[in-house]
Symmetry: C2
């Protein structure tokens, strides 16, 4: 039986925590399993390295940035191997060159193309625990790349897929995936299982337990993912394709406060204008989320949409610069909004979910600004001040805590 | 014209110094030369990494130690590339994997076997400054190795040899190689040129400007070495094979206080005993330097020898443990001794050097304990308290300051 275990930076932030992780992996190893451990850089190492780089060159080439940042995981992997050796267990640390984690060439945001298994299998055959640096790859130029933040999850899933691991455990500081953020919703409940699609919707909605790309990859290669706590032995949440999921109408509710609403007012009501607006934004790397179009006065219309809060100013700037071409009379915005979503594979075959959600919000006197839906998700835009109340209302409305 | 420049850890210890080195390399680059820069880890990085490792596992495997330590040079190389880019010069950092610096497999003390040049030449062809991580190699298992302390000098020479560089400049915090330690001998003079052999003798005698192995390699591949200061533009000292060296009788005088004298007293005077003693020490990795054998009483002899001061206790321990087998009656030691050496290619054809040295010491009332010579070196063991006086006396005796 082969297990891939991934631990984040806070789990290896100091000597004590490194030994905690080492002991946990050794228990599994001693029970006869093959263990591959994927690690992030220790604590704030990555941020410290970025600060050093920015001090020297705020516009440093991403290739050099990746050369710099990949040292972080190599340090934590080497120290982990030393800790396991101190506990009398053979262990070996491997970086992306040694494993040969082939990636695309895009520095700072690479994707895995192919992962070789020969070296890891060789080390496992000699009964070593294998520790692999997360977050990094090697491109066709023999240069190191990084996968972007959260990339260590993807490393773990890519290795689990390539090695045909029995499971891939992602360790975090929470017990698993919850029906809602436990800091906001008191009776939020830990879920035993979610589907890949549910996890994808939840992840993209700010339930920051798993990196989205890692869930996509797990789905593609059918890797059984487990999200669990590094602080205790609770079972965690299993992410997998499952038939008996549909008994649950909705799985969870998630909020995202990093949202802003932008309105382009008085746009000419003729074909192609809306396309031009969103095309212009897309070319500037601005992701648009919910879109609402309404009829305005005198042959015009108003187009509203949401963007990530961080992108708001940039988006406004672009629209103002192209005002004439895009026939926009006026640009307005509202940063004080938040998205609330319910997610559940069960809603595919159950048309009453939206109505039930709206009812719960109405009963709590929460006003809905915009609505967007996918097959397994319903998202509404509400005022930011209402978001906690709204989350509790919807969580209770669907009796998710029970 | 191709120049390899090596800068040590103190030359890249902070942002300001990194930019100093960057500017210095850029001047050379702008004059049309191809520039390869070899860097050590920043300031105390290596010591800090060692301390982290020792905190986790005082007997960590050397393989993991090398995984850990090699991150230090990768950080300084990446930051240097960023600094050069900030000054609008194209630069690229390369680690041992990317260059392919093939080494023997011995972790912590590897030697280069072969250095590939394809990647570096490719980058130089596109007019980049190439920055290479010093001190590290890759062995046949695809594992990273380190060359031991001072190994970055060797990296620079190995690259200069492989690339057929026109010169290899080793930057340090002194102006070059001196006739004696300027802190001890006031009128010590900077040498314009020394031969490889002289440099080897001086290096092994505590004139810590160049790593011995790098000088050996430079000699083997006839690489023109230059030792010069990173703090000014003084010409430095050129190390090369040269015919007109012989006009100088002696080149320099060096002292080594890290020395201890050990005596094995009352050893049986029969064949093989001395061999057994030194064989036992060698098998315990203790280097023995000067050896003196004297006749003792009743068919015994006394064998005295010097070891590095750090090895004294270990050597005594070993002798005591094997006392019976080695027929030693008593082991005594003296840590308060020092070696003084004069070095010069000219003494090969000039028999009066030893006499002149002894005369100078006699005139200063410095007692000589032991004597050892090579073709181009004479070493005497004196009391540690006399070493500065002795150094000045010999320096003056040969008029080295003139």
């Amino acid at each position: 039986m082969l297990i891939v275990k991934k631990f984040g930076g806070s789990s290896v932030a100091n000597k004590e925590r490194i030994f905690n992780v080492a002991r946990r992996c050794i228990e599994e190893y001693r029970s006869g399993k093959d263990v591959v451990v994927v690690l992030s850089a220790m604590g704030d190492t990555t941020d410290e390295l970025i600060a050093m780089a920015e001090d020297i060159n705020p516009r440093a080439k991403k290739r050099e940035m990746d050369m710099l940042l990949t040292t972080g995981e190599q340090v934590s992997a080497a120290l982990m191997a030393m800790a396991m050796q101190a506990l009398d267990v053979p262990a070996v640390s491997l970086n992306a060159f040694q494993v040969m984690m082939h990636s695309t060439s895009r520095y700072g945001n690479a994707r895995f193309k192919r992962v070789e298994t020969e070296r890891i299998l060789h080390e496992l055959d000699s009964r070593k625990i294998v520790i692999v640096t997360g977050f990094q790859g090697v491109n066709k130029y023999d240069d190191v790349t990084t996968l972007g933040r959260g990339g260590s999850d993807t490393t773990a899933v890519a290795l689990a897929a390539a090695l045909h691991a029995d499971r891939c455990e992602i360790y975090t500081d929470v017990d698993g995936v919850f029906t809602a953020d436990p800091r906001v919703v008191k009776n939020a409940r830990k879920l035993d299982e979610v589907t890949y699609d549910e996890m994808l919707e939840l992840a993209s909605l700010g339930a920051k337990v798993l990196h989205n790309r890692s869930v996509e990859m797990a789905k593609k290669y059918n890797v059984e993912l487990v999200v669990r706590s590094s602080l205790n032995y609770s079972e965690g949440t299993v992410v997998r394709e499952g038939a008996d999921m549909e008994k649950l109408l909705v799985t969870g509710v998630a909020a995202d406060k990093n949202t802003a609403r932008i309105s382009a007012i008085g746009v000419l009501d003729k074909p192609g204008i809306a396309f031009n607006i969103f095309d212009t934004l897309a070319k500037n790397n601005i992701n648009v989320d919910i879109i609402l179009q309404s009829v305005g006065r005198e042959g015009t219309k108003d187009i509203s949409f949401t963007v990530a809060g961080d992108d708001m100013e940039h988006a406004i700037e672009i629209l103002e610069k192209n005002k004439k071409r895009l026939t926009i009379k006026e640009v307005s915005c509202n940063p004080n909004v938040a998205k609330l979503s319910v997610v559940g594979a069960g809603m595919m075959s159950n048309p009453g979910v939206a109505a039930k959600m709206f009812e719960a919000l109405y009963n709590s006197r929460v006003n809905i600004n915009m609505i967007s839906t996918s097959e397994i998700r319903i998202t509404v835009l509400v005022d930011e001040k209402d978001i906690d109340k709204a989350m509790n209302a919807v969580h209770d409305g669907f009796a998710m805590g029970e």
